[in-house]
Symmetry: C2
Subunit: 172 residues, 2 copies
C-alpha cells in the first residue's frame, strides 16, 4: 500500500490535482514507483473519503486540487518512521538469469549484452533527467537528488555486472 504514501508524500510538498500528480509519476517517480492514471484517481478519491486529504479548490474542466490534511501528514510520518520497508523486491530481469541455461550459450550471451545496453540507456536517461531539472533547495530537490544518485549508481553497477557476467559465459 505504498501508492497512497507516494501521493501523500507529493501532496506534502504542495497541493496538486490528480492530473498534476500523474505527470509527476510519469517523470520522476516512475523510476521508483510506477502508477497508472486509473490507480491514481481511484486512490485520491479514497484518500479524500478517509479524510487524509481534502479538496482545496476546484478549477476549470472539473479540476480538483487536493491538499494534504493533518491526518495525512501524520500517516505519512508514521509510514516513514515506523513501517519497516520491504526487503525483497521482484526483478524479472534477474529471474531470467537463473534460467539462461535452457538457451544456447550465444542466446544467453545476447541477453546479457542487452542488459549492458539497457543499463547504459538507463544511466544516460537519468543523466539527462538530472540536467533537465531546475534543482533548488526545497526538500524534494535535496532528496530527489539523493534518489537520482542512487539510480546512477545502480545502473553503473548493473552495467559492470552484466559485462562481467557476459564474460563468464562467453568462453564456454
Amino acid at each position: 500500500m505504498s501508492l497512497r504514501h507516494a501521493l501523500l508524500g507529493l501532496l506534502s510538498e504542495r497541493p496538486a490535482s490528480g492530473y498534476d500528480l500523474l505527470k509527476t509519476f510519469e517523470t520522476s517517480l516512475a523510476n521508483v514507483w510506477p502508477a497508472t492514471q486509473s490507480q491514481i484517481y481511484t486512490e485520491l478519491t479514497r484518500l479524500a473519503g478517509s479524510g487524509l486529504i481534502t479538496v482545496a479548490a476546484e478549477g476549470p474542466r472539473g479540476r480538483k486540487e487536493y491538499r494534504i490534511a493533518d491526518e495525512g501528514m501524520a500517516e505519512l510520518r508514521h509510514w516513514l518512521t515506523e513501517v519497516a520497508p520491504q526487503r525483497n523486491t521482484r526483478s524479472d530481469i534477474l529471474l531470467r538469469v537463473f534460467f539462461l541455461g535452457v538457451l544456447r550459450p550465444d542466446q544467453a550471451h545476447a541477453y546479457l549484452t542487452e542488459l549492458i545496453a539497457m543499463s547504459e540507456e538507463g544511466h544516460e536517461q537519468l543523466r539527462q533527467l538530472h540536467d533537465s531539472i531546475d534543482w533548488d533547495d526545497d526538500n524534494l530537490s535535496v532528496y530527489g537528488r539523493i534518489a537520482l544518485e542512487y539510480g546512477l549508481r545502480f545502473q553503473a553497477m548493473r552495467r559492470e555486472w552484466a559485462e562481467w557476467a557476459a564474460d563468464q559465459i562467453k568462453p564456454r
Copy 2:
C-alpha cells in the same frame, strides 16, 4: 505473469512437487521473485490444466510430481528470448527517500543509517547462502552463481550509496 515462468524454469531443470518448488522459492528464488505457497499451488494447477506441465508421478501424502512438457519448454524459451523485460521496478525503500524532508534531519539520517545496516545484513546473508550451496556444474549452478554475484554487488552498491547519502544530510 512471471510466476508461471519461474515455475517452468525450475521444472526445466528437474521434475518437482509443489512443496519442492515452495522450498526453492523460500531460499534461492525469494531474492528475485518471492511467491507464496497458495500462489504456487494455484499456478501449478493452472499450468497443468493448460498442458504446459504434466503430473509425472504421485507419491505419498498426495504428493504430485510435475514435469515440464514440450509446450512448457517452448513457452519458457519464448519468454526468455522474445518478451522484453520490464524496465521499472518498485522500491518502497527508495520511495521513502523522496519524502525524507517531512522528517527532522536526525530522523532522515537515522533512516539512511538503517539502510546501511540492512545492506550489510543482506550482503552477509548472501555470502552465507553462497557458502552453504553445494555448487556444481549444472545450469542452475552456473547461472545461480551469476545471479548471486549480482546480489552481492547490489548490496555493496547500496551500502556505499547510503553512506554517502547519510553524509550528505548530516551537516545541515
